[in-house]
Amino acid sequence: MSEKTGKARRGGLGQLLIPLIAIGLLIIFNLIRDPGFFSIETKLNNTGNTVLAGNLISIINGASELAILAMGMTLVTAACGGQDISVGAAAAIAGSVFVRIIRGAAPVTGGTVALAFLACCAVAMLFGAFNGMLVAVFRIQPMIATLILYTCGRSIAYWINGGATPTIDSAITSAIGSFIPGVPIPTPVIIVAIMALLFSLVFRFTTLELFTQSVGINQSAARLNGISPTLIKLLSFIILGICVSVAGSIGVCRLGLINHETLLIDIEMDTILAVAIGGNSLGGGKFRISGSILGAYVIQMLTITLYAMKVPSTDVKAYKAIVIVLLVVIGSPVVKRWFSGLVNRFHAGRAAAVKEVG
C-alpha cells in the first residue's frame, strides 16, 4: 500500500484513485450485504489437493485473462492512441493452435505443452504484427485496422481445428487451468503475477516505457528525437500478441476444450474498459499498467458481486453499465476540475479567514 501511494504521488495524484475507490466501495458494499463474503477457506478439490476457495479467490482467479490482456492493451493504447478490438478473436486463434498441437502429440508431456505454447505465441505474435503493420505502416486507426481480425478471427480459429470443439485431457493442462498439485493458489493467478513481474522488469531495464509514452504523446517529436514510432507501435502490438497467447492458453486449459465461438467472447470490450477504469487515457500517452490490472479486478469483482446477488447472467450487463457510467463520471475531466476548484476555493476561504483573524 505504501508503495502504491508513493507512486501515485510521483505520477500526480489520481490515476489509481478511481480503481482504488471502486474496489473500496465494492468491498464495503459486499461486507455490509454479507459479512462473510470475503472469507477464505481451504478445501480439498477433486484431485485431492488442498486449495484456497472463496469469493475473493474466484474474483482474482476469474480476472486472470482479463488482467493479462489489459496489460498488453495498455501498451497499445499508450503508443497508438487506439485500441485493439480483435484480442478475443486472436485469443481464439491462439487457443486453437494450442489445442491442435497438444492433440497432435499422443503422450502429452511438459515438452509438448511448452512447444504448443511457443507455437501459439508465435501465431499470436504474427497476427499482432499484422495489426501493428496496418496501424504503424499504413497509418490506419487501430480500431479500424483490428476490425478486420475481429471480423474473421473466429472463423480462422474454426478452420484450424476443422470446425470441431476438441477437448484436451491431460494432467499438465488442467494444472495450468486450475491448480498445480501442492500449491494452494490457482495457477492463472501465478501466471498473472509472473506477467506483471516481467512487465515491470522490462520497464525497469529498458527504455520501452519512456519511448512508448513519448510516441503516444507526440509522434513527430518522438521521431525528431530518434525514436522510431513505427517500431514502437509494431512492438506494442507484438507484445499484446504475447499477452493474447497467454490468455488464450489459460482460457483453453481452464475449460479443457476449445470452442472458437465462445472462448473469451466479448473480452475486448472488458479489456478496453479495464484500461479506461485504470485511469489511462484512451487517447494515448502516459500510462500505468498497474491501473489497468486494478481495473480488470474491479470489473471482475463487480461481476461476481452481481452473481452473488442472484442477478441472472444475461442481465448482468445492464447493472454493470450503470456502475461503469458512475465510475467514468467521477473520473471525468469536468468533475475533476469542478472538484479541484471546490478544494481550492475552500483553501482560499480558509486562508482569507486566517488573514482576517490575524
Partner: protein, 340 residues
C-alpha cells in the same frame, strides 16, 4: 459555367471508389453467377434485409464525421425491437409504439451526448456502457423470443410496394413482381434527409468542421459541445427508427436481434469512405458501403461456399482491401489525416 472545376474532395474521392467497386462487383456477379443476380429482386432483397443496418450506419456516419464513435447502435436497436414488440402484444397503440421507439433512441442519444460532450468522457467507453445497458435491458425485458401478435402492425408489415415491370417470371410461368418493404422507403428517406442535413444545413457543415479540427471549429465560433451532442442525438434517433424498421421486417423480438450490428455499421461507414478520425464522410457512400458489404456475403453464399466461415473471412479480406486502399489513396494525396 464560369466556376473553376474543383478537384474531388477526400469525401467524394473515397465515395466514388466505393461506388465504382460496388458496380464492378455486381456486374461481375451478374456475368459469372447469373441466376438471382440478373433479377432486380436481388437488390430489393438486399435492401429489405438490410434496411435497419442502412439506418444505423447513417447515424454512425454522422457520429464518425464529428470525430466520435457510437458502438451502442446495435444494442439500442435490439432494445427498441423488444420493447415495441412487448408493448404492442399487450394491446398497445401503434402510434404510441412509434413514439416509444423514437423516445428510447433519443434518450440513449441524449445521455451519450451529455456524457461525451459536456462531461468530456471518452465516447468509446460511454457508448460501450450504453451497449451493455441496452443489451442487458433487452434480456431483462424478455430472455425468450417474442412473436408479434398485434394485428394493426402485422397488416402494415404485409404492405409491400410492388413493381410489376421489375419482376421476373417464375418457373411455373407466374409473373412475380419486384417487392419492396416499407422499411426500405424509411431507410431511403433517412439517407436522403441526413444527406441534405450534412450538405446544406449549417448544423451539418458544423459536424464536418468539428471532426476536421476541433480547435479551428471553436475559433470559428461553433458551439462545439452542442454540435457534438447533436451527433449522438441523431445517431440515437436513427437507432430508434432502425429498431422499428427491424421489427417491421422480422415481426419478432429476440435478445440477439441486431447482434454485431455496430461492427457491421462501422464497416459499412468505412467502406463508404468515412474516416474514424473525423471530418471526412458521406451518407451516400455509407449507403453503398452497406450494399457492398451485404452483396459480398450474398456472392459468397451463391458461389457455393456455404460454410459460415467463408462469409466472415471474405468480409475481413474485403475490409482489409478497402482500408489499405483508402490509406494509400489518402497518403498519396499527401493529406494523410489519419494520424495513428
Amino acid at each position: 459555367m464560369k466556376t473553376r472545376r474543383e478537384p474531388l474532395t477526400d469525401t467524394q474521392l473515397l465515395m466514388t471508389i466505393t461506388i465504382c467497386i460496388f458496380i464492378a462487383m455486381y456486374a461481375l456477379a451478374m456475368i459469372f453467377l447469373g441466376g438471382g443476380f440478373l433479377r432486380a429482386q436481388q437488390i430489393f432483397d438486399l435492401l429489405n434485409d438490410n434496411a435497419p443496418l442502412i439506418i444505423v450506419a447513417c447515424g454512425l456516419t454522422v457520429v464518425m464525421i464529428g470525430g466520435g464513435i457510437d458502438i451502442s447502435v446495435g444494442g439500442v436497436t435490439s432494445l427498441v425491437v423488444m420493447s415495441c414488440v412487448l408493448y404492442l402484444n399487450a394491446d398497445g397503440n401503434l402510434f404510441v409504439s412509434m413514439l416509444l421507439a423514437l423516445g428510447i433512441g433519443l434518450a440513449f442519444g441524449a445521455v451519450h451526448g451529455l456524457l461525451v460532450s459536456y462531461l468530456e468522457i471518452q465516447p468509446f467507453i460511454v457508448t460501450l456502457a450504453g451497449m451493455f445497458f441496452a443489451r442487458g435491458m433487452t434480456t431483462i425485458l424478455s430472455v425468450n423470443p417474442q412473436k408479434l401478435t398485434h394485428e394493426g402492425l402485422n397488416a402494415i408489415r404485409s404492405i409491400k410496394l410492388e413493381i410489376p415491370w421489375l419482376g421476373y417470371v417464375a418457373k411455373n410461368g407466374n409473373l412475380i413482381p419486384g417487392r419492396i418493404e416499407l422499411g426500405v422507403l424509411i431507410a431511403l428517406l433517412c439517407v436522403i434527409v441526413i444527406f441534405l442535413v450534412l450538405k446544406y444545413l449549417r448544423l451539418g457543415r458544423n459536424f464536418y468542421a468539428l471532426g476536421g479540427n476541433q480547435q479551428s471549429a471553436l475559433m470559428l465560433g461553433i458551439n462545439v459541445k452542442k454540435t457534438r451532442f447533436m451527433t449522438y442525438l441523431i445517431s440515437g434517433l436513427l437507432s430508434g427508427i432502425a429498431g422499428f424498421v427491424f421489427m417491421m421486417h422480422t415481426g419478432a423480438g429476440n435478445a440477439t436481434n441486431a447482434a454485431g450490428a455496430e461492427m457491421n455499421a462501422i464497416a459499412s461507414s468505412i467502406i463508404g469512405g468515412t474516416l474514424l478520425s473525423g471530418g471526412v464522410g458521406n451518407v451516400i457512400g455509407t449507403f453503398f458501403g452497406t450494399l457492398t458489404l451485404t452483396t459480398i456475403k450474398k456472392i459468397v453464399v451463391t458461389s457455393g461456399l456455404k460454410d459460415p466461415w467463408w462469409q466472415s473471412i471474405t468480409t475481413g479480406a474485403m475490409l482489409l482491401f478497402f482500408i489499405v486502399l483508402q490509406s494509400i489513396v489518402l497518403s498519396r494525396r499527401g493529406k494523410s489525416r489519419a494520424k495513428g
